[in-house]
Symmetry: C2
Subunit: 282 residues, 2 copies
């Protein structure tokens, strides 16, 4: 079975659109900030903005010069932080080498941090008081919900231990009410295939094209592919889709799997941020 | 083999004492705050303070009335937060029911948060920029280091998913450079004994007296008991020490295992806090 990320994304976006349509007087503004002109990032931001606009949000993009100083970048972020017409902020990463990502992110107020990247939002997630959580692992949870995947007591393996995907994915799968028994695997893990074969739920987030083949899959497992690699033949996920889909219970394709739901979760988070700022009724 | 927490604790405290002896002019102050008079908490704080004092630190205890208001509690915390003679702060938990723990903890500056309980310190740990981390899981890492336990690529199981022990323990074992492959188990985990039997490193933090018996243990495994239960026959850990020590490679006793190292790590964190506040040379 193909896990249809486009469909689930559309359902989430329709709900957002319907909710916003009830408040035609409220303008919810989402600002993306990029430093320098990276063509790939520009394509991605453009897609985010079209999706946000179609759902009734008001996206804006600020492209800062590639040679901007740390102080100038932080001043710009602080300006948006204080602007009560800006409800959601995203700083496009990676930044050029001369800039300090952590110091810049620290200037984003947690309640405007719609990709859940700040220390406070990560800490809240760990402490069972999550508010804004990273969109990619949140999107995987939305797919799990949409497909009624049983999680309680099930074995989940997350491949990859990044702070953006792997670790928050672990926390979301292990939290009370979801209750999976979760293992995080990484480059030092021995017998990765055997470990993955124990998983009822497998999330791969490493960026190794088509590395996850049928010998990594338990029959009937639900497989979520979050890895993205650029290859000569186009975008490729971590999962060898054709091979894995013969044995898995469900697999996300790439593209059309976790990506569209990530974007829908960004919009969902923007609404939550507006709500936390008392700019939108609950 | 008994994993001797008392010995490792003493080694850490000797180092701290020697380091502080080089700076006789620097007074590092650690303040514990408790609300109401809980006899058990008083015993624990008394022990913390004797240990801190013996190592050359300056502990102080503030016992607030059990019926203090949230605002009064927060004012007291803020006062200590602003006092540059106070380097480390601990709020004894649990608080009486009428008080909001999270709001109170949020008033502790992250650089004075010597038990690593604030959102910012949890978020830093998750993001690979740890500073002050919770003392109990840090203590387990100190035992692992002291006994030269191999961790890279090894299988670790943490039983319990609390924000105070289980989840930070997971992050410390899975982080780069430690590189264990870690699973977090909890009350919904199926076949807990079987899962634990796969562990080269087992940390139990659930508070179920003597629940971990020999059928939970892989021969040669290193077992760290963090659970504490009060039983009619005294303090009892999660691990059935006599049974488990016949098959494990090493086991922490209770008492005398992870507890003394937790206290040593509290002192270690106080020095780190003072350093972060530029009150002590690195």
């Amino acid at each position: 079975m193909i896990i249809d990320g486009k469909k689930v994304s559309q359902e989430i976006r329709e709900k957002i659109k319907a909710r916003l349509a009830q408040h035609p007087d409220i303008n919810i503004r989402l600002v993306t900030i990029s430093v320098g002109d990276d063509p790939a990032s520009r394509v991605y931001v453009g897609m985010q903005h079209r999706t946000a606009g179609a759902a009734g949000l008001h996206p804006e993009h600020i492209e800062l010069a590639g040679d901007i100083s740390q102080q100038q970048l932080e001043e710009k972020i602080e300006q948006l932080a204080q602007d009560d017409k800006t409800h959601g902020m995203i700083l496009q990463l990676p930044l050029p080498d001369h800039l300090d990502k952590d110091a810049a992110l620290a200037k984003i107020p947690p309640i405007k941090d719609i990709d859940g990247q700040t220390d406070v939002n990560m800490g809240r997630l760990l402490q069972g008081r999550k508010q804004l959580v990273p969109c990619t692992p949140l999107g995987v949870m939305r797919l799990i919900e949409a497909y009624n995947v049983e999680t309680s007591g099930k074995t989940a393996v997350v491949v990859g231990r990044s702070a953006v995907v792997g670790l928050p994915q672990f926390l979301l799968l292990a939290e009370k009410g979801v209750d999976a028994t979760v293992t995080v695997a990484h480059s030092r893990t021995r017998d990765l295939a055997g470990l993955c074969r124990s998983a009822d739920i497998l999330v791969s987030a490493i960026g190794s094209p088509a590395m996850i083949t049928e010998e990594y899959i338990k029959p009937g497992a639900m497989v979520f592919d979050v890895g993205v690699s650029e290859t000569p033949s186009g975008i490729q996920g971590d999962v060898d889709f054709d091979a894995v889909s013969k044995i898995a219970g469900g697999v996300t394709p790439m593209p059309g799997g976790t990506g569209p739901v990530t974007v829908a979760c960004l919009l969902e988070n923007t609404l939550l941020a507006a709500q936390l700022q008392n700019a939108l009724p609950a």
